[in-house]
């Protein structure tokens, strides 16, 4: 306390000066309208920018939660609004249901690549369900445990996928030659299909696994070998398999009916 008094006595001039100058400053800002509004503008802009940084920071930390929410919402939307109009009659195309899930492990460096996701039998996932994202077809489930499932990635030289040229509706099969994880090969496109570089490839929906109209990639190169009637086409995929994170497992609810019908013909 004594030190405090000493300090005040020692610096009495500066203290009085500071008090007086602060009184005059408060007068300036409280009684001059223009200066007050300017000062308010300035201070509020500083406060706002600080608040903005703060919210940005908290938003960044909330991104994980936000992402999960969006994924759930997305699957809800996909489940509820997946129908289209055709030939003046509404065909309710809700025979696919979607389950959001996360990729646990994924490889692109082998010629037979597999993918593991964090949903399994408990989440009603079965063998031969499809794995997709909104940017492409990812693979097909081949093994299911209680909580996990593995799938054959389409970057696997063993599977072929039915696809369609969006422009001309010609269908073909997509397979991987094991070289570049962003390029796949498309075969069975007939000579009559008038294709060009940049044409979009979508899923065909002819199997019971994947719904139609999932974008897959664009044609980046093609040639017509002599003495054949089919193009050899290279397709650049939209989805980057190197950074796969959120996927949907798509299940055909009428798969058994479909397969039974198929068997009757065989």
């Amino acid at each position: 306390m004594r030190n405090f008094v000493d300090f005040i006595i020692k610096n009495i001039n500066s203290i009085i000066f500071l008090i007086l100058i602060s009184i005059s400053i408060t007068q300036i800002f409280s009684r001059n309208y223009f200066q007050a509004s300017k000062f308010n503008l300035f201070s509020s802009s500083i406060v706002n920018s600080i608040n903005e940084i703060q919210t940005e920071m908290f938003e960044y930390f909330d991104l994980i939660k936000l992402n999960q929410k969006l994924v759930i919402e997305n699957s809800f939307l996909k489940n509820n609004y997946d129908y289209y109009y055709e030939n003046d009659s509404i065909i309710f195309n809700k025979n696919y249901s979607y389950t959001p899930s996360k990729v646990i492990s994924n490889s692109i460096k082998f010629s037979k690549n597999f993918i593991t996701i964090n949903k399994g039998r408990y989440h009603n996932i079965e063998i031969e369900d499809g794995i997709i994202t909104n940017q492409g077809v990812i693979g097909i489930i081949n093994n299911v445990s209680d909580r996990f499932a593995t799938g054959i990635s389409i970057l696997n030289s063993q599977i072929k996928i039915n696809v369609v040229l969006k422009k001309s509706e010609h269908f073909g099969s997509l397979y991987w030659n094991g070289k570049n994880h962003q390029i796949m090969e498309l075969e069975d496109i007939p000579k009559s299909a008038n294709i060009a570089i940049g044409d979009t490839i979508i899923s065909g929906g002819m199997s019971s696994i994947f719904p139609r109209n999932i974008p897959i990639g664009v044609i980046c190169n093609f040639k017509l070998p002599e003495s054949t009637n089919y193009y050899e086409v290279s397709v650049k995929l939209f989805e980057d398999f190197g950074s796969l994170r959120n996927v949907y497992v798509v299940k055909n609810d009428f798969k058994e009916e479909f397969n039974d019908l198929k068997k009757m013909n065989e």
Binding site: N13, S24, T26, Q27, I28, F29, N32
Partner: protein, 171 residues
């Protein structure tokens, strides 16, 4: 008037009255003449600092009150009296505050050049602070400088003659 307190009181009244009644009422090149700074210019140097600040504050407050510029003149006057010793040191060379009582004792026997540099520095800084706070936007900095230069030159001319006439002996 040898009593310093009476002298200060008299100056207080006279300077504030002349500023408010006369000089606030006419503009030269759209600028007012601010002769009230004479109060600070000739303020006794070895006066109690705290009292000096308080008296200056009241003086500024009175002029502010009649000029409808609440706080602005007080603020710049306080800054002026704060920097006054440094400016005197700069303009007139080294001096000892405790030895001499009157500002006039420095000023007598100094050259016109030194006196004018003292006046110019004081007025320029005072007007600069005054105009900066009054206009309060750095986008108009050219306007601030323009106003500062013109009004300080006008004020210097008036103040110099007032100082010569009234404050020669008792400054």
């Amino acid at each position: 008037m040898n009593n310093i307190n009476q002298l200060l009181f008299f100056r207080f009244i006279m300077l504030s009255l002349s500023q408010v009644m006369i000089f606030n009422n006419f503009l030269i090149f759209e600028n007012t003449v601010n002769i009230y700074l004479i109060f600070v210019l000739v303020f006794p140097l070895n006066f109690n600092k705290s009292l000096a600040y308080i008296i200056t504050f009241i003086f500024g407050f009175v002029i502010d009150f009649f000029s409808n510029s609440f706080g602005i003149i007080t603020f710049s006057l306080l800054i002026s009296i704060l920097i006054k010793p440094s400016v005197i040191k700069f303009a007139f060379g080294h001096f000892d505050v405790n030895k001499v009582r009157k500002t006039s004792e420095y000023i007598s026997g100094t050259s016109l050049y030194q006196q004018l540099s003292y006046l110019f520095l004081m007025f320029f800084t005072h007007q600069l602070i005054l105009n900066t706070v009054e206009i309060f936007s750095l986008q108009n900095f050219d306007m601030i400088l323009n106003k500062t230069l013109i009004s300080s030159i006008i004020s210097i001319i008036f103040s110099y003659f007032l100082l010569l006439i009234f404050f020669r002996k008792n400054a």
